[in-house]
């Protein structure tokens, strides 16, 4: 799944943070 999502970024915006403290990564399910 792609991370961070739009919802994650919206939370950061509400918190007054401009960018997440992680780099954007893509992880795949290993089902």
């Amino acid at each position: 799944m792609t991370y961070p999502t739009e919802a994650d970024l919206e939370v950061l915006k509400k918190l007054g943070l401009s960018s997440p403290d992680v780099t954007t990564t893509t992880k795949k399910d290993e089902e």
Binding site: M1, Y3, P4, T5, A7, D8, E10, V11, L12, K14, L15, G16, L17, P20, D21, V22, T23, T25, K27, K28, D29, E30, E31
Partner: protein, 140 residues
């Protein structure tokens, strides 16, 4: 890594690291069992249905900026990303995998629980709204 002491689990919600406020955390992976029993069967038959995992976390409440209460309040009513690692500070690997999942933040206890002699805490259980992604590479 062999067995490990459960005192350094990492948790990020919406990219905010809340690890230092966790006193207990459990990610329960499960999926629905859909009955597929048909004529001729001598026992119930089940097949895998939709994934239905949950994330239960006990937090120490803190209203500081970008802390537990403010982060969860900002996420309240939405599905945000939770990232978990068994041993924070240790590289992601096959023996320290990374779990990533969307959780619906649909319950909060911002005032917390506890009595006069206790620190305020929140015991929350979030329903997962995605499959749990398991990765052996990447960063927390």
């Amino acid at each position: 890594m062999a067995i490990y002491l459960d005192n350094n689990v990492g948790l990020k919600i919406a990219t905010i690291d809340l690890s230092q406020y966790i006193t207990s955390i459990t990610l329960t992976q499960t999926f629905d069992e859909v009955e597929t029993t048909a004529m001729g069967a001598t026992a119930h038959q089940f097949s895998k249905g939709l994934e239905s995992s949950t994330l239960a976390v006990d937090f120490l409440n803190d209203f500081a900026a970008a802390s537990v209460c403010t982060t969860l309040q900002a996420a309240y009513g939405t599905s945000v990303t939770a990232v978990l690692i068994p041993v924070k500070g240790t590289a992601v690997s096959a023996t320290n995998p990374l779990y990533t999942v969307s959780i619906l933040v649909n319950n909060l206890t911002p005032v917390g629980s506890g009595g006069p002699a206790d620190y305020a805490t929140s015991s929350l259980s979030f329903t997962c709204t995605s499959t749990v992604a398991y990765a052996t590479t990447g960063t927390f």
